[in-house]
Amino acid sequence: MSLPVRITALLVAFAAVAVGAAFIIVHYLLASPPTVTYNASGGVVNIMLQEDPQNDSASKPDWVSYFVQNPSTKKWVHTTLFSVPKGTTAHVTILGYDGCTPPRNNFWSLVQGTIGGTVNLSIVNNKGVATPTRRVSVINGWAGCTVGHTFAIPALHLFVPVASPNAYDSANNLCGVSPCTSGPHAVESFSFRVPDHAGVLRWQCYVPCGGGFLDGNGGPMQTIGYMTGNMEVRA
């Protein structure tokens, strides 16, 4: 093999490796779900989330997942990244479409860190009938089929159990296409104070969602874009 051919072959091989490495870096390592931006109105930010028994991804469609509603388009975005302005009051509404799963530690049944230490809760059944909204400080995830997930920002000591549809609906009638627009679900709302300084606060679920691993948190629990994410506090 002549020298020019060998040099060309070497360069081609090097370029192939470089392109492959760049593809992996860009496609996998730097890939991130989109961030939904919320703005304040009168010092209040309205955040809309839903958690589903499945999701709309091609790779892991059976993973439970949160969705975040874009406040401008009202479309549900498959992400767990959102940003809010600092020093505001966040008013969060979570639509809990996923069925119940007992928390590993029932301490997470206690509402903590919200304004007033409570959440407002209503359950919509499979016929679309909603229970009256009631204010509760505890949703006992061990007493029956009551809790699906939690929404927690540990740095703010914010721990909120998210209710689920009842036992019958959890077992038979859950929404099957994400993002969910119908089907039995919980409607839960609460407020908390956003810190006065900018930063990134992680949030997560403390229930090993959809069953999960008995020996630790499984896939969606450890994957940003599914059951954990970041709340960016903007300056």
Binding site: R104, W142, H157, A167, L214, T223
Partner: protein, 315 residues
Amino acid sequence: MATPEAPAARARADANHGLRIFLIWLPLAVVADLLIWFLWKPHMPPGTMSSSAEHQQFDIAVMAVVAAPVLLFIWVYAGYALVNWHQRAGDEDDGPPIHGNAKIQATWIATTAVIVLGLFVFGTVELIVPAGAGAGEGPAPIWQPSTSHRLEVQVIGQQWAFTYRWPQYGGMETSELVLPNNATVEFHVTSLDVIHSFWAYQLGVKADANPGVDNIAYTTTKEPGTFTVRCNELCGLWHGAMFNYGHIVSPAAFQRWATHWEAVQRSNGLLGMLPPYRTTYDPTVIPQLGASIVKIDQITGGAGYYYPPQDPVTP
């Protein structure tokens, strides 16, 4: 060509070298040790917020005091050798053969033996006297504090947060760690999922949190303030964010805090919802129902149940 020295003259010269090195080294070592003890020690980690932290600070200072003269001796000897025994211009001879020196060898062996054995005894005493030195001693601690008046705090690790149970306050559970000053604390460290490690840095307390294991560590709080609690065992995605801050407050303030939360959790029903206080927990069982959490009627997830670990589609 160098003139061969008489053995007696060389011995005298060697003695002078030794004396000179010693006289250079001694004041330096004394000054270094005084600086370490009086200037540096008060600022050494992990501080003085607890008995175990105090002892660890003391231990680090003692080891620095022992190590500094050794280090200085090496530096002084190297510097002295460079100045006095470097090759002179025109001197192309080999150095004289070394036939051993019983006195130096004996001194070296005796000194290092004293240091190593001394540190062995010192380390053992320092492990025993402060009741395990703030480290987890497992479920049956060998070294315990002399007082039986102890505040029991159970530390529960879970991906990714520590929570705390207080058996002497009705078994309440909190996400915050508050301790009274001048109190002997008995930590019972366990986990509900994977291996974590409870590291209360400024308290000098570190104990692994293993599922199904009651790992006991002791300390006595010494001064009010804030300390950092970190997980010190890689435990998943948010391991790096698994930290918070604890507080040592006055006994009266602690009593107010604890009784307040006990009353709150009694009134909102949480105390009855938590499992009965135990040193370890089986997260697959709901004690109140006496049932396995793996698959029970009425408590079924979207997928129907907790997947067994071998399930290939476990999300």
